[in-house]
C-alpha cells in the first residue's frame, strides 16, 4: 500500500495515537508498539519546580523513537494557541503542531475563526500545522490558504466515541480536496468507526481515549490498527455502490427447471 505523506515525511502506519489517559506509562508504550503507530500526540502542562513528571514522561516518549505531534489542547483563543505552539516547538524540537482552538467548553466545538487566524500566524512562522477542524468546506479552504497541507476534521466531538457524525460532510470534503491528506481526529470509539473513516477515503485516523480507556488498551490498539488497514484496503479496492434494487449474486442463467 502507498505510504502516508505528511509535510514531506512518509509513514507506513495510518494511525496516529494520543498519549493521554492510559492506566500506566507501560500500557501506553505497549499500546503504541502493538498498533505500530509512528506518530503520537503530546501536550504541555504546568509543572511545579520540584516536580520531574514532565521529564519522566518525555523520557518515555523519546524511548518510543517515533514522530511527535504536540497539540494546543485546551486553548480558547488564537493567541493562546500560538503561544502554546511556540513553547511546544522549543521543548519538543519540532515545527509540527496539532492546532486546536476550542470555541465552546461544553461541546468542545472548534472555534474555526480562531483556528484560521492561528494557522495563518503559525504557518507564516514556519510551523507545519495540523488543524483540528470541522467538516466545513469553506473553513478547510481557508486553512489551506494559510499554508496548511493537512486537514484534521472531527469524526464527532472530542471524547464522545460516537464515530462519524456527518459522513456526508466528510465524503464531500474528500471529494472537494482530493489530494490533501485528511486525518479524522476525535470522536472515534470503535475500530469499525476508524475503518469507516478510511473506507470514505480519509488518509489516516487520530484517536486516543478509545484505546486508552479500553479494558485492554494494548489489544484495542491492535484492533484499531487492523480496522484502519482494512478500511484503507477497502477504499483502494473500489467498493461497490449501494443500490435500492436487490440483485442475486448467483446467476439465474441455466438454473435447472424443477417446477412440478
Amino acid at each position: 500500500m502507498t505510504m502516508l505523506e505528511l509535510y514531506g515525511q512518509s509513514f507506513n502506519s495510518r494511525m496516529l495515537l494520543g498519549t493521554a489517559r492510559y492506566p500506566s506509562p507501560s500500557k501506553l508504550a505497549k499500546a503504541v508498539q502493538a498498533s505500530k503507530t509512528e506518530i503520537v500526540t503530546v501536550s504541555l502542562r504546568r509543572e511545579a519546580g520540584s516536580s520531574y513528571a514532565g521529564e519522566k514522561f518525555w523520557d518515555l516518549i523519546k524511548s518510543l523513537n517515533i514522530t511527535i505531534l504536540p497539540n494546543t489542547a485546551g486553548c480558547y483563543s488564537a493567541r493562546e494557541a500560538v503561544t502554546t505552539a511556540q513553547m511546544a516547538r522549543e521543548i519538543f524540537q519540532t515545527d509540527w503542531i496539532k492546532l486546536e482552538v476550542i470555541g465552546d467548553s461544553e461541546s468542545l466545538h472548534p472555534d474555526t475563526a480562531g483556528l484560521v487566524e492561528a494557522a495563518r500566524i503559525l504557518s507564516a512562522d514556519g510551523f507545519k500545522v495540523f488543524p483540528y477542524t470541522t467538516e466545513d468546506l469553506v473553513v478547510a479552504g481557508k486553512l489551506m490558504d494559510t499554508g496548511c497541507e493537512v486537514l484534521m476534521p472531527w469524526g464527532a466531538p472530542i471524547g464522545t466515541a460516537r464515530g462519524l457524525n456527518n459522513e456526508y460532510g466528510l465524503r464531500t470534503l474528500r471529494s472537494r480536496f482530493e489530494t490533501i491528506p485528511i486525518i479524522i481526529d476525535a470522536g472515534i470509539g470503535l475500530p469499525s468507526h476508524a475503518a469507516r473513516a478510511m473506507e470514505l477515503g480519509s488518509d489516516a485516523v487520530l484517536l486516543n481515549t478509545a484505546v486508552a480507556r479500553a479494558e485492554n488498551p494494548v489489544t484495542m490498539a491492535e484492533a484499531f490498527a487492523e480496522g484502519i488497514r482494512a478500511g484503507r484496503k477497502a477504499y483502494l479496492s473500489g467498493p461497490m455502490q449501494p443500490s435500492d434494487m436487490p440483485q442475486t449474486s448467483t446467476s439465474l442463467i441455466d438454473k435447472a427447471d424443477l417446477r412440478e
Partner: protein, 65 residues
C-alpha cells in the same frame, strides 16, 4: 516583589526571569516559559525583566490527545 507563577502568587527576590525560575526550583532540562501570555525563548530568559504582578507560566511535556 509578588508575581504569579503557574497561577499561584509568590514572593520572589530576583527580577530576571532566569533567576526567578531558579529561585522557584526549576532545574528541569525540558520546560518552556511565557510571560503575561507571550512566549519567552529560553535564550531570552536571562535578559527578561519581570515586573510586580506579572504572570509567568512554566510548562513541561505531558500526555495529550
Amino acid at each position: 516583589m509578588r508575581i504569579i507563577i503557574n497561577g499561584k502568587t509568590r514572593k520572589v527576590s530576583n527580577q530576571l526571569l532566569s533567576e526567578i525560575l531558579i529561585e522557584c526550583g526549576y532545574q528541569q532540562t525540558h520546560f518552556a516559559t511565557a510571560l503575561n501570555g507571550a512566549f519567552i525563548h529560553k535564550h531570552l530568559r536571562e535578559s527578561t525583566r519581570v515586573m510586580p504582578g506579572d504572570r509567568i507560566e512554566v510548562v513541561t511535556p505531558n500526555a495529550g490527545g
